[in-house]
Symmetry: C2
Subunit: 344 residues, 2 copies
Amino acid sequence: MELDERKLKILQAIIRTYLDTGEPVGSRTISKFSDLKLSSATIRNEMADLEEMGYILQPHTSAGRIPSDKGYRLYVDTMMEAKESEVRNLREELEEKVEKVDDVLKQVAKFLATNTNYATMVSGPKYQSKHVKFIQITSVDEEHLLAVIVLDNNTVRNQMIRVEEIIEPEMLLKLNFILNTTLNGLDVVEMNLALIQQIKEQMETHTQVIDSVLEVIGKTLLENDDPEIYTSGTMNILKYPELADKSKAAEIISAFEEKETFHSWLGLPDRKMSNETHDIQVYIGDENSLASMKDCSMVTATYQIREGVYGKIGIVGPKRMDYDKVVGTLNSLMGQLDDIFKEK
Amino acid sequence: MELDERKLKILQAIIRTYLDTGEPVGSRTISKFSDLKLSSATIRNEMADLEEMGYILQPHTSAGRIPSDKGYRLYVDTMMEAKESEVRNLREELEEKVEKVDDVLKQVAKFLATNTNYATMVSGPKYQSKHVKFIQITSVDEEHLLAVIVLDNNTVRNQMIRVEEIIEPEMLLKLNFILNTTLNGLDVVEMNLALIQQIKEQMETHTQVIDSVLEVIGKTLLENDDPEIYTSGTMNILKYPELADKSKAAEIISAFEEKETFHSWLGLPDRKMSNETHDIQVYIGDENSLASMKDCSMVTATYQIREGVYGKIGIVGPKRMDYDKVVGTLNSLMGQLDDIFKEK
DNA sequence: AATTAGCACTCCATTTAATTGAGTGCTAAC
DNA sequence: GTTAGCACTCAATTAAATGGAGTGCTAATT
């Protein structure tokens, strides 16, 4: 059987209507409210065909039809028209004191949640590479050294080190010099034992202090820097009857609470992302990698702060989410987000 | 009317039974299962009295009685016996790599949630005072200075500063010296304009750089350091029918998502806390400061990391939560937590 | 005077039955 | 190929019937 023009039009009408109402849609509705001038009987015949082809299905005999995942997929791929939704100037929405990237993201999550009425999650930026750019050990007081490590992505880590013996200023200077010349530009994995040995040899005294300093540096670098994940509007899920069922809702919402769950896939862009597109992806039902989201759809977009620094934004709703609006909103918002990050 | 021995016993029996079953309890149940040898008719009379006194109430005629908030309060204040619950050695439960206090707390939240089947929230430690202990400005590369500020509670803040002009090493040394001598020990509020002017005067050149440095320092100090709040087991709320109603649940759980909501009261210990007790408090129904929690009870405890550094742990459940168990568990856990923090 | 058995009454919860109506598939006519 | 027409299906809603837990009150009992 072939999916001709007319069938497509009918399918589209069915999906549009269903997205709108959430109720199974019958032949009569389509016959009346679409521009096709066809009787309900004809529509019925076509519907039977569409069902056979797997694009729609019947919750039960004598009910209207609802789109299947396959139907949604077709819709998203070929029929959707991203609504050029007027996202009110994001920058105006942002509170004054927004300086840190993470604060912006937190607010973006909230903004999207209230605007779309779906649940949102936003991952903080993931810094790809980390090489040591600058290390400095300072003496803060009698018993504390402070190690400050600047990575090449300009993130800063610091760590207090408790020491028993007082270390003289000249020694510190020397240590700093050695550390910087030896470790500069190195990756974490490149900081191997041989290197550490080499450093120790150069410093004759205070081996114990050096030990703990090096240990701290190593740890700090290894420190898992899973990006923060911000969620908002989780409870919006309850607004959609098909998800509000207790066990389902609990599963979905728990996933949102266990943010760690999302680290796996929120981390990286799906593919080589061009600088223009924001790689907006739609996952419908079972296409989600998380089993607990099999009754949801998720739309994700990738933002880029600068070369190699990515993060993701995800919007989760029922499968009958308003894809057009969501994609439109995301599109518009991502553009603005780009601008905001460019300023920084 | 007087609340005599017998009435107390009956009230206790009612509450105990209700905590257990969640169903309104009738006179017959009490007559049968309590050690009082009284007929249901007598119990009924006493119940009528207890209701008149406001300790119990009837959801509707011809239903059993349930405790009122006043009843719960009496129970918690005078009849509860904290179950010496065997909290399996917390330290064993903690994953290996727990070093940071916040990681411990995160796991404590999870631990409590799974063990009690209620929702939990834990606030990170709130550092009371913040005075500058040590400041250092370093040149990281041609266009970046790094300001590191150590506060007297040994927390470290840092901030990159972008500069146009290159600043000579001697200048930096001088700046650091001035900053440290001028600002050391000062509170944020004490960093007023006069002081800033004074610093500027001492440095003749690079006023622009100094400006931005001082600005950054000020901002960094002012930066609201609301403690992190970790939540866990939010979805446990849905396990209790009296809360699982959609609108109620949404309200409560939203409050958990909007963690900021809790900052107000999670910050500080309610009163001068002795070192021994953990200031365990119970808030029943309307006693909660948050309106959205009026159908819940919350049990809070305060932990102390060291002098002046407090945080709170809260357990939220239905009003008929198992107070005995929760308080018992908290008691036991707080002791262990003390030990863990002492090690650090 | 306190306790209890007994009984009529109340009201929610559950079950069962009846009704409605949107929607379908099929057939025969257009 | 399209459509009008009709019998049929089935979830959802409404209505009625039943059951039972629990109460309050009164009169008898201890």
